[in-house]
Each structure stands twice: as structure tokens, then as C-alpha cells.
């Protein structure tokens, strides 16, 4: 269970408050207008941004003292998820151990993960030799081998076209949700939320609201979200 206890984050003049709980194993969409604080919230949970006050707790444990790499968290960014000078396999291996020379068993695990996301045989390719969709798959494979209980995704497939994005959301649900990982995905697109998330946290005007079931939120959006979404047929 992820608990944000009186969390207050600041980035420049911008301030964001969050006081909420997310049950373990749920997939949640952070929905709201740009500039509302979605990415700030994610950065705070991941440990890139030190809170002004309050705590981030995972299963009751305060994550504050832990640097980003030691939190029970995997992150998928909007882009730059792969190091351009490393092969797909090496990029995935980094999810297991900070080394470029994996042991036999680590190599096999990374290779399996690449196969599960549909990249069998492409282990030695560098990111520049992969298509945009394949790069997103390789990044997902690394999240898989990390086996961390909480996955943060910051508009992870934003650079892909609509068809590829839908495909990647399906794949994400298939490989991560089935594993009972807790997923927090930033998106500005309510369709993404509907496709992946059981619950929605509305983030707008410097405030993150408590999670509510996706269907209910989209059917009857709160005022802040309604203004952003406009009237939907």
C-alpha cells in the first residue's frame, strides 16, 4: 500500500499537496491538465524531489531516507528510457545489477524478459537500431526484471502513435497487472485511464485528490477535471 501522508512538494513557485492512500496491486491513472502537478507528484514519490513536508510510505515504511535507486520502485519516463550506447540486453541487465557483464543466469533472465515483450533475437541491437515501439518494449522489459512492487510511468508511451500506444498499454496490463504490481501512470488522456487504470487520482491546481474508481470519475468528473476535459459526447 502506498500512502502519501501530508505530502507537500515544491518546484520553483509551484506547490503540490497530496494526502491519500493507494491499495497495493491497483493500477491508478494520475489525470489532470498539464501544469497541474502530475509529474511533480511522480518525481516526489520516485525520490527525485525532496518533500517540503510530509512522508511517502510504502507498506508503512518511510521512503524518505532512501535514494531513488533503493526504493521499491521502477520508473518509466516519457523518453530517454534507454542508454543510447548500450545494447537492448545491457539496458535490461541494468535493472538487475549495475554491471555491463552479466552472469549467465542474469543474461538468461534479461533475454527472457525481452522475449516476453516481443523482442526475442534483438538483444544486441542498440536503441537507435530499434523502432520507437521496440524501444518502449525494451524499457518495459527492464521494469519486468526489476520485479519491484511499485511502477511509476510518466506518460510513458506519449511519443508513440495511437495504435502503438494502445498496443503498449495492453502489453503493460498483461505483464504488470497480472504480476500484481501497483501502477501509477501519469496521463492527460482519459482514454488511457479507461484502458489501463482501475482508479483515477485527479491532480489539478496543486492538489492531488483521493483515488476513485475510473468509471465513476469519467462519468461524473469533479469540477477541476471537468473544466480540463470539456464536454464529452
Amino acid at each position: 500500500m502506498l500512502r502519501l501522508d501530508g505530502l507537500e512538494l515544491a518546484q520553483g513557485d509551484f506547490r503540490l499537496r497530496a494526502d491519500l492512500e493507494i491499495p497495493g496491486g491497483t493500477s491508478v491513472a494520475l489525470l489532470g491538465p498539464s501544469g497541474g502537478g502530475k509529474s511533480t507528484l511522480l518525481a516526489g514519490i520516485a525520490g527525485f524531489l525532496k518533500p517540503q513536508s510530509g512522508q511517502v510510505l510504502w507498506d508503512g515504511r518511510d521512503l524518505g531516507p532512501l535514494p531513488p535507486g533503493q526504493r521499491p520502485i521502477s520508473v518509466l519516463f516519457q523518453d530517454n528510457n534507454l542508454f543510447p550506447h548500450l545494447s537492448a540486453l545491457q539496458n535490461v541487465v541494468l535493472g538487475l545489477r549495475p554491471t555491463l557483464r552479466p552472469r549467465q543466469e542474469e543474461r538468461a533472465r534479461a533475454s527472457d524478459a525481452l522475449a516476453r515483450v516481443g523482442l526475442a533475437g534483438l538483444e544486441e541491437r542498440r536503441p537507435a537500431q530499434l523502432s520507437g515501439g521496440q524501444q518502449a518494449r525494451a524499457a518495459l522489459a527492464r521494469v519486468l526484471v526489476q520485479e519491484r512492487p511499485l511502477v511509476l510511468m510518466d506518460e510513458p508511451f506519449g511519443a508513440l502513435g495511437p495504435a502503438l500506444k494502445a498496443e503498449m498499454l495492453d502489453l503493460t496490463r498483461e505483464v504488470l497487472v497480472r504480476r500484481a504490481a501497483t501502477i501509477l501512470m501519469v496521463t492527460h488522456d482519459p482514454d488511457d485511464a479507461a484502458a489501463l487504470a482501475e482508479m483515477v487520482v485527479v491532480v489539478a491546481e496543486g492538489q492531488a485528490e483521493a483515488p476513485r474508481p475510473t468509471g465513476a470519475v469519467l462519468a461524473d468528473p469533479p469540477p477541476a477535471l471537468r473544466a480540463y476535459l470539456g464536454e464529452r459526447g
Binding site: 531513488p68 519516463f77 530517454n80 542508454f83 543510447p84 550506447h85 549495475p98 537507435a128
Partner: protein
Amino acid sequence: MPKLPGLVAAVLVAGLCLGTLLPLLRVGQGGLATADWAAFRFTVLQALLSAGLSVGLAVPVARALARRVFPGRRLLVTLLGAPFLLPVIVAVMGLLALFGRGGLLNDALGALGLPRVSIYGLHGVVIAHLFLNLPLATRLILQGWLDIPAERFRLAATLNAPIGPLLEQPMLRSVLPGAFAAIFALCLTSFSVALILGGGPRATTVELAIYQAIRFEADFSGAAQLALLQYAICGLAAGLALWLSPRALGGAGLGRAVERWDAKGLMARIADMAWIGLACLFLVLPLGLAVLNGLGGLADLPDGVAGAALRSILVALGATAMTLILALALAFQGGTLAQLAGALPLAASSLVLGTGLLLVVRPFVALSSVALPVTALVDALVALPFALRALSPALAEVEARHGRLADALGLTGLSRLRIVVLPLLRPVLGFAAGLGSALSMGNLGVIALFGGEGQETLPLLMALLMGAYRMDAAAGVGLLILALALLLFWAFDRGGRLHAAP
């Protein structure tokens, strides 16, 4: 990122650059002699003339390059960056072959029955500095032209407004002072040029006077005073240059030309091509002559040339290693302290640093026993500001693009350096190493102060041969220096980019 090495590097660089002041202050008692003031006046005068002429002549050349498209333009713009790598002493050799006593120009004048001209003295020093700095000035000013957004030229064209007062003159007013100050500062520390083309009571720079005081008169107190004077001039000039900071020392995006609606007339086109042609001739002829004479001189290479080449290569590699380590440590440190430490060597010339170090070590060891390490150390410091200038923005970009991913994967400390940062910086490291090693390979500086019998590097060997009027042999050595400098630059730069990520 680890901060301690950066702190150590900053203290080390500051210690070497500022610490050398202490022995100079201690030894440099008494007042400056008349000859010293003459050297001071000459140094400032030739630097003012050199910088003024370089910038003044670069304006029409840069304007021509900015508004004309022709085959080979891209190559020409690239070549404008090359003189930075060109060993100064080789450039002087080429100028001698063109303007010297037995040079092409005097042969032509003699054939026409006209009086001969001499390249020695103030005008020779200024011509050499013009040769070395015209390309830099042209690049800086060309950058200014290309930084004017194309839309403004279009807007001016639709308004039928005069481009000169509206766009070009404001740009020149903001670019020229910085370019002038940068070249002025570079010309102040001129040693090789003054050594060969200057000299005597009326054409001696402070840098040359330091050398003569130590080498010929063993007057360490006088040398220390001169070094302090030089330190003050260069510090002021470097500070001025940094303050006026021309933005364009990097020089990206010089490939395109600006589309222009004025200056379509035949006369303007002819004038532009004439400026470009003259500039090319002035830059290419001496270089071509240096190479040609060098090929002829290869047969006359002296006995010591292999040893000198080996020493030069070792000094260049040692200096490069030190430059890279210091630059990396300072780049990781970041912040004002690192920037200051990285800029300090700009204020301290080779010979000033060399004199300070000489005064420090002289009581303890024979100068000749430390000649090569001290040369490498000073070469490393001289190249440091340029290496840092290349590395810092590249490191900032790597951190901006990949820093959070590395954080999220727990890549910190040495494993972050090894797995992420160094591989991604490799092209820039290669470029910086190429720059540093080429500069060191062609630099005649400290070695002239310290070097004893059998310790010559290639530039020193070449200077000695020229001093003995063995011009053929000197030209051969010059060609060797040029070839090795370009080879080192090419090898490092290429090695850095080979198989690098896009």
C-alpha cells in the same frame, strides 16, 4: 557524483596558477628597467594592432561567407577552425617562405627590380598574428551573422529597409568587442612569433624578454619581475575577454548561409568573392609553402630528430592525460569554484608558469632533470580551459537526459561514471584529448626555459635549427610537427567517435 576529486583538482590548478606568483613576488625585487618598459609597450602595441587588423579584415570576409553559397564553402568554414591546431612555429616558417629574405615575394620583387622587404620587426609580428587569428575572428563574426534569425532578413526585405544599420551594425557592435578582446589576449602571450620574427630592443615582447633574461643573462630577479608584469597584463586581458565573452567559441551550425535579398548586384558579388579569395590565398599559401619546403627538408633531418619526436609525443600524451583528468574532475565539481579554476590558466602564460615553477624547483634539482615533466604539466594547464569548455556542457547534457534514469536504477558513484557518463562523453573526451595533444605537440614554451642538451622536443629542435640558419632541416622538422599534431588530433577525435552512440 563524487565531489572530492573536483575540489582537489580546483585547489591543484589554483595552486599552480596562483602559487607560482609567490616565488615571483619573493624574487622579483627592484624596479623594471627601461628595456622592460619597452617590452611592455611593444607587447601591448603589437597585440592592439594584431587584434584590430584581424577583426577589421575579418568583417568583410565573414560577411562574404555569410551571404554567398559556393562549392567548398563548408570545407572552407571547417578549415577556419584548423589554425587553432596549427603549431605556431610551423606557421611562422610558412610565412618566412612567403615574405622572408629568400621568400616568394622578395624573389618576385627582385625579378621586377624593386627593393626587397623585410618581415622582421613589428610588422612581421603583426602579419604572423594576423595569419594565426584572422580565421578565429572570421568564425566569431560569421557566427554573429548567422545568429541573426532568417525571418529578420525577410522582414527587412519586405519593408525594403536598409539591412546595414537595421541588422548588421547592431550585431557587429555586440560581437566585435568580444572578438577583439579574445584575440588581444591571445597575442599578448606570443612567444614563438616574437622569438623568430621579433627580437632586439625595438621588437621584444614581455614573454620573449622573460626567456632572454633566464636563458642568456641568468637574471632570475629580472625574469620574475617581467613575469609579474605579464601576469598582470594577461589577467586583465583575459578578464576583459571573458567579460565581453563572444558566445561562439563552439561554432555549431556554421554550415548554412543566410538567404539575402540585398547585395545581389554584380559588384557586390565580385567584392565578396575577392575577399574570400584573398583570405584563402593569405591562409593557404604560407601553409602550402611550409609543407612543400618540409618535404624538401625531410632529407636533411638532423640526427636527434627521432629522440625529439619521441619526447614530444610523450610530453603530449602526458599533458593530455593530465588535462583530461583535471577537466573531468572540475566538470563534475561544477559551480563557480570549478569555473574559476578552469579559467585561471588563461591569465597565466606558459613562460610565466614556467618561470614560477623554475624558481620553485631550482634550489632542489637540476632544471634539466625535470624539463619534460614540467613542460607536460604546463601544457596540460594551458589546454585545460579549452577542454573544460568542451566537457562541461556535454556533461550537463548527459545528466539532463539520463541522470534520472541512472538515479532510478541506482547507478551512483564509480559505476555511474563507468557505465553511463564516460561512454556517453567519449566523443567529447576524444575531441578534448585531440585538441590538448595537438596543442602540446606544437607548443614551444617552457621547454625553451628548461631544456638542456639532448632534451629537445620537436618545436625546440626546430627553433634551434632556425637559429642556426639550417632552414631546410628546420622545414623538415616543421612538417614532422605538423603531421604528428594532426595525426594525434585525428586519432583521438576519431577514436572518441568510433562506434559512439548517436
